[in-house]
């Protein structure tokens, strides 16, 4: 009888300590995944900043060309860039659909402006094929590519996080965390980005 008692106590004790230690594992995993999401988020913000930095350079190049029509288009771009910069991307913006819509709208308008600049520059091949302009357009295209990659990675991290806090063991440890929102890539936005593709043929 004594033996039975002992084994029962021992096994219950073992079970409880197992649960206790596994709690650590689940909690830590949630923290880790959350950190991944935040890192991916800051990456996106960095890439958008990177792209915004090119706009003043673009304005400089256009001013140097002294072409009135192109300058008019670039003024529009400048104004839209200022609007876009006023909405900085962070977690509050991403999770709020209204702010997100505003952000996307600003970015779309900016992209459309750049697309129009490209269309106008078709008329002036000297300007279009000038070294500085092509260099800048390459950089902006590269910035767009990086933004896309950053968005994809963010969405992957969000998916991992959401899956973990919604499925079985994670559910009970996720009291302080809410489900995260993936980055909606705007359909109109991508169209205007494609309009920006520089085809030197």
């Amino acid at each position: 009888m004594k033996n039975l008692k002992r084994t029962v106590f021992a096994s219950v004790f073992a079970l409880i300590s197992l649960c206790f230690t596994s709690c650590f594992i689940f909690e830590n995993e949630i923290v880790r995944l959350n950190q991944n999401v935040e890192e991916a988020e800051s990456n996106i913000a960095t890439q958008y900043d990177n792209k915004m930095r090119r706009i003043p350079e673009l304005v400089q190049v256009v001013k140097a060309s002294k072409n009135v029509e192109i300058q008019a288009v670039t003024d529009v771009i400048e104004k839209r860039a200022n609007i876009a910069e006023s909405i900085r991307l962070d977690s509050s913006v991403i999770s709020d659909p209204e702010k997100m819509a505003l952000f996307q709208k600003a970015q779309n308008e900016l992209n459309q402006g750049i697309g129009r600049l490209l269309a106008v520059s078709e008329k002036y091949p000297d300007f279009k094929f000038s070294a500085q302009f092509t260099a800048l357009m390459t950089e902006i295209e590269g910035a767009n590519n990086r933004i896309t990659v950053a968005q994809t990675r963010y969405n992957q991290a969000v998916k991992e996080f959401n899956t973990y806090i919604l499925s079985f063991p994670g559910k009970y440890f996720a009291k302080n965390y809410t489900k995260k929102v993936p980055f909606q890539s705007d359909i109109d936005g991508t169209k205007s980005v494609e309009a920006m593709n520089l085809n030197l043929e």
């Binding site: 260099a135 390459t138 950089e139 295209e141 590269g142 990086r146 990659v149 085809n199």
Partner: protein
Amino acid sequence: MKRNPGQNPALRQKKVFFLFLMQLFAICLSVYAEKINYAEDPLVQQRFVSKKDKEGLYEWTGSFVVDAGHILSADQFTSLTTYLTKLNDSTGIQIALLTLPSTNGEAIHDLAVRHFEKWKLGRKGIDDGVLLTIAVRDRSIDITTGYGAEERLTDILCKKIIDDLMVPLFREGKMGQGSILAIKTIAGIVNPESSEKVTKDLITGNIRPETESLSPLSSENSAISSVAAENSEKQAEDEYEESNEEEPDSEKKDKKENTALETIIWIIIAIIVWLFNRKLGLWGGSSGGHSGGHSGGSSSYRSGGGGSTGGGGSSGKW
């Protein structure tokens, strides 16, 4: 097995058990059996091997070149693979070439980034990998750079390489030459030693489609860097012979190391068997002779270094 009348059943059981253990050990040794290593196959055959995985991405072959678009001749494939392998050995930089018939509607940059993430080019943490992708039917070229390579090989330089070096050659139909010239320029720029010089040459236009690329590797590999971009068929023949001469040397070295390892293992087995002999008195004398290890052996199957990309680089069409 001879049946010695003087032994008792217990001892016989131990014998059987011991033999069973030896068999198990021999089976475990099959881990040293020869693996099919794409990189060691006759490279002339390998350029036709390009497998796709479930998602339609081409598999890594260890030779840094996947030529599903068939733009490289046999000699070009050989010399390019040798060049990239030596580059990886000496500097850790991993540059790969991927040619496909078509991207099937997908943007070539997205496809290139997916391949880069699958192959993990470049060293982990340093991320000095670069992927050059060519879609033959779509007539598009893309260069994708890892985080580390981006610092030296900027998007603008990628665009320059595509527009100034590759497009003129590709329009003439010399796609293999163009690819090789581009790869050597990329190698020159990503390699910190030669980066400034090659970047300056590229910008000032000193690297032309006709010239050899100026990318000095370390002095040991100067023999390889002299295997330059093919400009004529004569040169291609000479280089094919050169690269063939170098291959046997490296193979012999690998074989020597492997057989040394295997002889050591056989010696250990012999010692164990001999000790068991002494203990159990199974059979007198030394154990039977054994070979000095089988030929071939497994060379290291070169894999991607764990690097990642930020999606940088540039693309173009010809």
